[in-house]
Amino acid sequence: MAHTQTSAPADAAGAAPRQEKASAGASRHQLVAFLIMAAFFAVAPLVVYPVFLMKVMCFALFACAFNLLIGYGGLLSFGHAMFLGTAGYVAAHSAKVWGFTPELAILTATACAGVLAWVTGFLAIKRQGIYFAMITLALAQMIFFFYLQAPFTGGEDGIQAVPRGKLFGIFDLSSAVGMYPVVLLIFLGGFLLIWRIVNSPFGQILKAIRENEPRALSLGYDTDRYKHVAYVLSGTLSGLAGGTKALVFQLASLTDVHWSMSGEVVLMTLVGGLGTLFGPVVGAGVIVSMQNYLAQIGAWVTVVQGVIFVICVLAFRRGIVGEIANILRKPL
């Protein structure tokens, strides 16, 4: 990965590092790539089944949020399903039982995921590397059992027939034509936010911590706090994806909190390219399509996923977008 050398100044408070201009700003080819992506998702529903595209966008946002943590912070969470699932349940419950409007349901869901991320992050940040992965996995499993037993989640059935409602009480979202632009805006908004975070001084410090934590610490940065904030941001944005997904499918179920979902988001990011901006989107597209087209082969999907994992780790660690970026010699 080509990182511009920007050693952050040893700012005493670590709060107001200087503005990076040329190095940290969004580069032109990234902007071009973004426009292509936006145009693709805007035009694609004319050709491709819109619900499928909405699914891809939800998972793409989820994977981008996950990538914020692993790709830029170097923290491998194996429990990100807890944010996706929690937000799904909150959005579904508030829309169905409390009669929230969709925007309010999604906001509530995102906030709940953020709170959950704050609490679990506080615990998980205490250990690093492999332990961090195990702790997040265990915490997510705890959350899974909670939802399995909690009465409001409907257990194995989940919360079904969630009304999509009317956006701001005006725009009817019940059809795909109504829902699609909303999902597209949420996805692009989330993506731009992550892009902004990555290029912000905060994102630069996060990368510094990933590359060399003792050094960042010795420069006066409270690395634990930066990691915690990154974790909360990542969890919150995963929640945004989860809340939206619950309204798109009008369903919140245990699948979204299960550990296999945490594994899937790792796989998407890995396939697309860890630490690349567009990799998680491509990865989500590949994995979701694969699941759709391979649905009839049942349990073989798990085997195929496992094989992709092994191949990626052994021979294809840059991922699809990482390889392209390597050929172009430009970060994507």
Partner: protein, 294 residues
């Protein structure tokens, strides 16, 4: 007879189940700790290898007519050998990379193994006959103790303590501990460290398979039997800290007991109690009960 309003029969029954689960936690976390010590990776395949142990026992009985005692001997060797292959052909390539890649690779391998077994044998459990010598039980007066369960606890204790003895008290173990500290130095003394790493992985995997064989008559043999268990064992490992062999054993049995007690007094929390304990331990002793913070 009652204690705290709970019939002793029920209380001791649950404690016994707790100890049984504890034996499996101890055996599995011990294997994880041994592998982690030398390879610096967390073996996510451990749960799948535990399941393979149970399936090898099932297949030995139904295809080859070899009973429980043969399985106890052969399953760890067979599954351990598959572990050696995984180490030789896959894990070996990752040692100079970030340790997280080892976790991702073993996760992928676990998905493959579990998926293949599910395709072949379906998701439902298959029964495995208890060995004839260990059927029945003893009435201890306050509870009925099935022989097989007593055997599992005693056998896993013996295996755990022998492993501890070999690693902490023998020449071979001292090589192993030295290689954990500084592999280059040990290699320069003429010890074949790569082979030691391979065999260690095989041994850890063998322990998981042994646990699988012992679990087969108690739980049903099913492709998913290790998938959720491994997550609990991860929590056990976080609670104990992987620095100490004895720590893994004590934590494993202890948490099994606590889980059993929870089933008696507050059954709703029995699934989550170990994770809650993990959170509490992280708050007060982040390195784990027996671990040392690096």
């Amino acid at each position: 007879m009652e204690i705290f309003g709970i019939p002793t029969q029920a209380l001791f029954g649950q404690l016994l189940i707790g100890l049984i689960n504890g034996s499996f936690y101890a055996l599995l976390s011990l294997g994880l700790a041994v592998i982690f010590g030398l390879l610096n990776i967390i073996n996510f395949t451990h749960g799948a290898q535990y399941m393979m142990g149970a399936f090898v026992a099932y297949l030995l009985l139904n295809k080859a007519g070899l009973g429980y005692w043969w399985a106890l001997l052969l399953a760890p060797i067979i599954v351990g050998f598959t572990g050696v292959l995984i180490e030789r052909f896959m894990l070996k390539r990752l040692y100079n990379l970030d340790h997280l890649y080892g976790l991702l690779l073993t996760f992928g391998v676990a998905l493959i193994i579990q998926g293949l077994f599910r395709n072949e044998y379906g998701a439902s459990g298959l029964p495995y006959q208890m060995p004839a010598q260990l059927t029945g039980g003893i009435n201890l007066g306050f509870m009925f103790l099935p022989n097989y369960r007593a055997w599992v606890i005693v056998a896993s204790l013996i295996v755990c303590l022998s492993t501890w003895f070999v690693i902490e008290r023998t020449k071979l173990g001292s090589y192993l501990r030295a290689a954990t500290e500084n592999p280059q130095l040990v290699q320069s003394f003429g010890i074949n460290v790569p082979r030691m790493i391979t065999l260690t992985y095989g041994f850890g995997v063998g322990l998981a398979a042994l646990a699988g064989v012992m679990a087969a008559p108690i739980y049903q043999v099913s492709p998913q039997m290790g998938a959720d268990l491994i997550i609990v064992v991860f929590a056990v490992v976080v609670i104990g800290g992987m620095g100490s062999i004895m720590g893994s054993i004590i934590t494993g049995f202890g948490l099994g007991l606590i889980e059993g007690l929870t089933k008696v007094f507050y059954p709703e929390a029995s699934n989550t109690v170990i994770f809650v304990i993990m959170a509490i331990v992280l708050l007060f002793k982040p390195a784990g009960l027996f671990g040392t913070q690096k």
